[in-house]
Symmetry: C2
Subunit: 345 residues, 2 copies
DNA sequence: CTGAAAGCGCTTACAG
DNA sequence: CTGAAAGCGCTTACAG
């Protein structure tokens, strides 16, 4: 079944004008008389003509395609990012080409190569790493890459993160102020900068208050592993009285394990805090105290970094960091000052 | 910054062969001598050459792009579908171009038009409607469209759904068998065929057992509206003793509202059942009895329908329906036979 | 097997 | 403002 789409040549013949005239009518800013434009548009309408974006891309060298690589779609944070990014980009005439990275394999490279083959104008890597050989290729091709929710050692690319260190620190202070003395941590994937920064900030916050980490488990940013780590951690003789889980996604699983497998009450027996503030965190079932990563502002920053380079304003990689904010809910025992503030109401 | 990617011409010059030879080396099944292939590949490697997919698409008329339109990314079901569909398609050399449909606006048309502009080889509409004028345009262009999790009146397009009617019916039978006598329903968006089919099946199931719907609310497939509907429904003098919520996404919100806003126990005071079986449903917090829509098989069917038409095997629209299966968990009172079965263990 | 040539559907200098 | 022509980077008959 042949694709029977009208081309600019068809429209030109129908309107009795040149093919270039048709092209100009559909090129914003090109010089065409009103008369010509009306005539061409009428013919185009009749034939159902629309410019072939692929052909246009070949000439202009711009595909208006942005490649997005994601791995953790079961973590509510990422669908939210995808939705916001896609909507934001659509509004600017760009579109998102999605690539799933197998969270296991380190070979993002194969996937990235495919993205490059589509001549994308930019790439967003959401919580995913890139090899240096491919990084060079992107650089050579002049394609901007933004690392989303991940930092890097060298500053070759733009990064967009929240202040994970400060966030971890604030959480430590909150738990100490809440009167906790056996404070634990369940880590994300050790290779992630977000994981390292949150932990470093958390430890720094504890140290500043004269405390040390009471226990540590690893959840790898996966809910089942986090639950298992929690069960092990809380089955010991002397169990923690508070735990910071490196992101909300794992924190939910931890709360479920604590409540339903170990019969503990949150926050009476143990306080739980997370990081991200995804939608589920606000639901009564979890009512999770957490650091909010402002996804809207992070997406905004991502688009800015991308467009700055694509539109030639600012080619230099930018390290954008937005503030994270403590959202106090019911999953952690409150410091006295909060209790007092609440009673005053 | 000019894009400094090597072209087939560059490789040809470097290898001292014709440009067509280079092209053949990268065209599976083209006839080239081993010698030629080796030489070209070596040059390509050195220059970092990869065929420009866009240019190839222009000639072949195949972009290997599939457009996916989604609206409800906060419903876990859809990220799951996106992940599976994308992975499956990637494995076959296709890629997914994502378009967010504003769930409010009916103008999917604008978005669809943009998809068509990219010369996609196929379109998947996940829980989203299409106007008949655009439908004709897709037909004329020979582009297969698959309606995912939605039916239609005419059978112009392929559809992939589960057996929503049978699913609704099974749920009714389960609740009646569980000894419930005041059975309510919270509907999804009234315009959706899935909503209508589930409700029709549910009502038919009740009728077959001599019961009628006790109460009905509308949640529009949105969690906040579902929660509000539940609160209103359960604030009446005589409240339901069971409720079927049209999908899991709303069911979680309903459970939260029942428990935390109305202080009811699930399932002691009220049984709750849903539809989909998303991951959250299995978590202890919800432990939701629900009909499983087998997302893997639905994605499978979608890809099959798409490829059948793209590869010219079967151009006719197919109405694919997979079975839904009852997953019994703890959110609804069990019929005696289940209790007996459990005690036997 | 290999190369020269036409052409996919556009945009964009270049003349007029 | 408008048209003829070149060319984006490829694939694919067509000869040899």
């Amino acid at each position: 079944m042949a694709r029977e789409t009208a081309t600019s040549m068809d429209v030109a013949r129908h309107a009795g004008v040149s093919q270039s005239a048709v092209s100009r009518v559909f090129t914003p800013g090109a010089s065409v008389s009103r008369q010509m434009a009306d005539r061409v548009r009428a013919s185009a309408e009749q034939l159902g003509y629309r410019p072939n974006v692929l052909a246009r891309s070949m000439i202009t060298g711009k595909s208006r395609l942005i490649g997005l690589v994601v791995a953790y779609l079961d973590n509510q944070f990422y669908p939210e990012i995808l939705e916001k990014l896609s909507t934001r980009l659509q509004a600017q005439g760009y579109h998102v080409l999605v690539f799933m990275a197998q969270r296991t394999a380190g070979d993002i490279d194969a996937v990235l190569q495919e993205i490059l083959d589509y001549q994308v104008d930019g790439i967003v890597l959401a919580s995913v790493a890139i090899s240096s050989s491919l990084a060079e290729r992107c650089d050579a091709a002049g394609i901007p890459v933004v690392l989303f929710n991940r930092g890097q050692k060298d500053n070759r690319f733009s990064t967009v993160t929240s202040d994970n260190f400060a966030g971890g620190k604030a959480l430590a202070e909150f738990l100490v102020a809440g009167g906790h003395h056996r404070i634990a941590y369940i880590a994300g994937w050790e290779g992630a900068s977000t994981q390292r920064d949150r932990e470093a900030g958390f430890r720094a916050g504890l140290a500043a208050q004269g405390q040390d980490l009471f226990a540590r488990g690893v959840g790898n940013f996966q809910s089942d592993m986090a639950a298992a780590a929690a069960v092990e951690m809380f089955s010991c003789r002397e169990r923690p009285d508070a735990v910071f889980v490196a992101n909300d996604h794992m924190a939910f699983a931890v709360m479920d394990a604590l409540r339903h497998r170990l019969g503990l009450r949150v926050p009476q027996d143990v306080s739980v805090v997370g990081f991200d503030d995804v939608q589920l965190a606000a639901w009564p079932s979890f009512d999770l105290t957490t650091m909010r990563q402002p996804s809207g502002r992070m997406v905004e920053a991502t688009v800015t970094a991308l467009m700055d380079k694509i539109e030639g304003r600012n080619g230099a990689p930018q390290q954008l960091q937005v503030d994270a904010r403590l959202i106090v809910r019911g999953s952690a025992r409150l410091p006295d000052m909060y209790v007092a503030a609440q009673e005053r109401k």
